[in-house]
Symmetry: C2
DNA sequence: TTTTTGTTGCAACTGAGTCGCAACTAGAAC
DNA sequence: GTTCTAGTTGCGACTCAGTTGCAACAAAAA
C-alpha cells in the first residue's frame, strides 16, 4: 500500500531526488502545490496550500524550498509588474521562456511565446557575449478587453 | 541673483512644473539626484544623496516622489534580477526602451538597445491586441569577463 | 541499528515601503 | 505685498515579505 505522497510523485520531486536532494514531508507538500498550481502563486499562498496536506509546514521552509528550486533553475520568480504589492510569484520553469503581460486595469495575466523573444536572446548572447541563465520579460498595459 | 536650485533646473523639474505639479525644496533635491545619477540607485541611496542638498528630506518623501514620477511615466522601476536583496532601482525614462543584463558573478549591469526588442513589442501590441504602457526585460547570467 | 549530515519549526529579527496626521508652504487670487 | 487654500512634508508608528540562528529532528548511507 503506497503512501499518499508517493501516489502523486511529480516530476519536480523526481528531478530533485535524482540530483541527490533529500526528500521530506514538507518538501513534498510544497512541490505538490507548485506543480499542480493553475495560476501564479506567491509565498504565502503556497504556504497556505501546502499546510492543507501538511499542517506543520512553516513559512521559513517555504522560502528555503523556493530558494532551493531557484538555485536548481526549476522555477522562475516573477514580479507581475507589482500589480498587488511588491511580493514575488513563482511558476514551474518549462521548456520555452514566455512573456508575461499584466493588465493594469483588470489584473489579468496573459502569457505569450514568441520566436522573436528567442531571437532577441540569441542576439544578446552573440553580440554582447553574455551567457544567459534567466531572462524575464514583463509587460504592463491594457488587455484586449480593457483597452479603449 | 538666481537661487542655486534654479541654476540646475533639469528637464524632470521642468516637465513636472509644466504639468501643474508644485515644486518644493525636497522635490528639487530628489529630482536632482535622479537626474544626475550615473548608475541605478535604490530609494535609500536616493535619500542619502538628496539629504546632502536638503538634510531635512524624509524617507517617506522619497517614496512619495518616486510614486509621483512613476505615475507620470518619467522613471522606470527595476529589480536588476534581485542581485542585492529585493529592493527596487530607479532610472530616468528616456526615449528608447533598453534591456538590462545583470552579471550573477560580478554584479555588473549592462544596458543594451535592440530593434528586435521593439519588433517583439510591436508583435505583442498587434497579435495580442495589448496596449503596452511599460515593458521591462531583465536578464541574469554571466558577462564577457565572468563567463568561462 | 547506528551514524552522519541535511532539514525543520520556531521565534526573533531586518529592512522596504506605507499611512495618518498636524504643521507647513507654493502658488494663485486679490 | 497679503491672504488663502489645497497640495506637500516630516514624523512616528505600522505592515509585511523575507531572513537567520539554533536546538530538535529525520532521511538516507553505512
Amino acid at each position: 500500500m503506497p503512501l499518499p505522497e508517493t501516489e502523486i510523485p511529480g516530476r519536480l520531486q523526481a528531478l530533485l531526488v535524482q540530483r541527490g536532494i533529500r526528500m521530506t514531508g514538507p518538501r513534498r507538500a510544497i512541490l505538490g502545490v507548485i506543480e499542480t498550481a493553475n495560476k501564479h502563486l506567491d509565498a504565502s499562498q503556497i504556504l497556505r496550500k501546502a499546510q492543507k496536506s501538511d499542517p506543520s509546514v512553516d513559512r521559513s521552509t517555504v522560502y528555503r524550498t523556493l530558494g532551493l528550486l531557484k538555485r536548481h533553475g526549476l522555477i522562475d520568480e516573477l514580479d507581475l509588474m507589482h500589480l498587488n504589492g511588491d511580493g514575488h510569484y513563482y511558476e514551474r520553469k518549462l521548456g520555452q521562456d514566455h512573456i508575461h503581460m499584466a493588465c493594469l486595469r483588470c489584473g489579468k495575466i496573459t502569457e505569450f511565446v514568441s520566436e522573436r523573444f528567442d531571437s532577441l536572446k540569441s542576439q544578446l548572447e552573440q553580440e554582447c557575449r553574455f551567457r544567459i541563465v534567466v531572462a524575464r520579460l514583463e509587460v504592463g498595459g491594457y488587455c484586449t478587453v480593457c483597452r479603449r
